[in-house]
Symmetry: C2
Subunit: 386 residues, 2 copies
């Protein structure tokens, strides 16, 4: 088990009817908020009204900044920084899913920096300060509501990169499962795969497999997500399933999912970032493709024992290592398809001729994240899913 | 799934050779420390020297306060408060297990309070401020290194009570598994039962059984502890087992173990507090007795389905609810005995004539904690283990 430092100061307020507490919590961090949100779905489902009313009732002024895209883009971050500064805001209130939270974090880190905020994503500069971010989470998936990272895409260069800093932990995140009832089935499925991937990156890339408690933590997350996703797809208004799913998403990327693991590589995320940077496909869909290929490749790269261990714990498989590992890889992809995801690249319009472009892009980001993969490894993974 | 608020600001520094970082961390909170420890075992195993050297090297002054007992007592807390104040300390450095940390927290809450510190334990007063506590953990078990509670015994009245406040979270806790190699087998076993009890209190008393993710979190902890304890008893210097065990102890009472559960009652802890307040038996030993009786009673009180669910997940039992639940209760006590604990009260010198005293004592504390048990319920539990 490897040494680690763990700290997560985000305060979580969880449960139904809690959204209206956002003003009270935000008021602890100043007088004026930049309210960041996406393409307007929060106006249709009532979230917008509740949040704005709560801010007003707690004496907060605010300016709105809408239009955050799924796979949020740098060109929208920069005007957000300007708007925050021009209006002398004290904090950001992020109302949305991972994209909105990530863009809010990027803005929060940019408002105290004189250079180009992209410097934080390329490693050219370190975040020394950030404005407080208060979150109203509407889509459980990325875990951004309780971690210190954010992912932004620079469109011109097709770079989907991330920045990290203890200053990026949201101060408070409000998780109200009842506002997630309206999330469409495919988005629920994307979220499910994202959650599973967050814990499997560490589980399958660690060079130290002696963290028994962390392995069991990973199994707890994956078993929960599989069961809960099926419950939600059957009945989207199952409050308890939505609630457990929402909390599972947070636990899957709050820093605990890889504690004690060694030299973890975010292989699947790196390759998926390239897929969605180039082809703008949803993150969770991309992950279902990459993870399926990643596991198949791992079978031929000494991963059978670990895959079998996973299969024993998740699918209660019994038999030889050879049999169980093979069955596990099959079952994972089968499950992705069961929840409606197309796990072949060609099914999503990505063709063999594109693989080298994807591999080039992934290796550029991979290098930055210190990974050990080469282009041929990426192509090998993609080939399994062509 | 019930609503909740979760926040845990303690910074964890985990892994071998980290003890020497304590001075660097403590120096962030002032210039002078009260170093609190127990009966001197830290002087024999080298921990004392490393901690004091680190404090000195980081320019910290300190005064020592030793003699904390297992089941720490109020009469030792009060002189600690005086020593802290007289020496104008800025913080407490707690070097030890749960007892030392709990007493340090009690002292930290007392130094800013003009009344009797016991007021915080009886609910007469609320902790509004506390001195920073920095922990070097030597015995994994209670989870006190990363939570907001502390338990102290008032000897005259045989009251083993607790106080809680967000101000009681340690600022930093250093967990170095390599210093736990010398923990004797029986103390390892006590710790194991304590950890298991921390997660089972919620699991078996919740009035809402729809927190699937929390149930799976509980299984992750219990499965880990059972496996790891056996590994440690076989080879006390198994670093990876000691490390996972240490981290499991923290996860078992860091606040996450009952999220979403409803009206949780710490039944086993309340009754055990009475046993150890009156008979001064080790906390973990007392818990192995009470938990065995508690589960037997639960079998006759509508608990079979939940017990069976637990048995399916922990012992991979298959069969009817009736069969599995019975087998689960048997297997738990069997396991406590396997790791060396005497789960009968008579084996520990506690006789049937004492049961009413225990029940009286437990109900007094139980009332304070708002529990639903009556004396006859406590006696019923004790009767199963006479």
């Amino acid at each position: 088990m490897e040494n680690f430092v763990y700290s997560n100061p985000t305060k979580i307020i969880f449960g139904k009817n809690n959204l209206k507490r956002i003003g009270h919590e935000a008021a602890k961090f100043g007088k004026k908020a930049l309210v960041v949100y996406g393409m307007g779905s929060i106006k249709r489902n009532g979230v917008y009204d509740i949040v704005l009313k709560s801010l007003s009732e707690n004496g907060l002024e605010f300016v709105e900044y809408e239009g955050v895209k799924p796979n949020p883009v740098l060109s929208h971050v920069k005007p957000g920084i300007e708007k925050f500064k021009k209006n002398s805001c004290d904090m950001i209130v992020a109302v949305g899913g991972g994209s909105v939270i990530d863009e809010s974090k990027a803005i929060s880190s940019g408002v105290f920096y004189n250079g180009d905020v992209w410097d934080f994503f390329t490693g050219k500069a370190k975040i020394e300060k950030a404005a407080p971010v208060i979150v109203a989470l509407t889509i459980p998936a990325t875990g951004s509501e309780s971690n210190s990272g954010c992912v932004i895409t620079k469109e011109e260069t097709k770079q989907k990169y991330s920045a990290h800093s203890p200053h990026l932990f949201p101060k408070v995140s409000i998780l109200d499962p009842s506002i997630t009832f309206s999330i469409p089935k495919e988005q629920t499925a994307y979220g499910a795969v994202d959650i599973i991937s967050h814990v499997l990156e560490g589980y399958f890339t660690t060079k130290d497999i002696n963290s028994i408690i962390t392995d069991n933590y990973v199994y707890a997350i994956v078993k929960s997500v599989i069961l809960l996703t099926e419950k939600i797809l059957e009945n989207p208004e199952d409050y308890n399933a939505r609630a457990s799913f929402m909390w599972t998403a947070t636990l899957a990327l709050n820093g605990m999912q890889s504690l004690g693991y060694k030299n973890v590589e975010f292989v699947n995320h790196v390759i998926e970032h390239s897929l969605s940077a180039i082809f703008d496909i949803p993150h969770g869909l991309g992950l279902s493709i990459v993870l399926s290929g990643f596991l198949k490749r791992l079978m031929n790269r000494g991963g059978k024992l670990r895959i079998a261990e996973f299969g024993k714990n998740i699918f209660q498989l019994r038999g030889s290592i050879e049999e169980i590992s093979k069955e596990t890889v099959f079952k994972m992809e089968e499950w992705f398809r069961k929840i409606g995801l197309k796990t072949k690249l060609s099914e999503n319009g990505i063709l063999e001729k594109d693989f080298i472009t994807v591999a080039d892009n992934a290796c550029e980001l991979g290098k930055l994240w210190g990974w050990s993969y080469e282009k041929k490894d990426v192509i090998e993974i993609l080939n399994f899913q062509k």
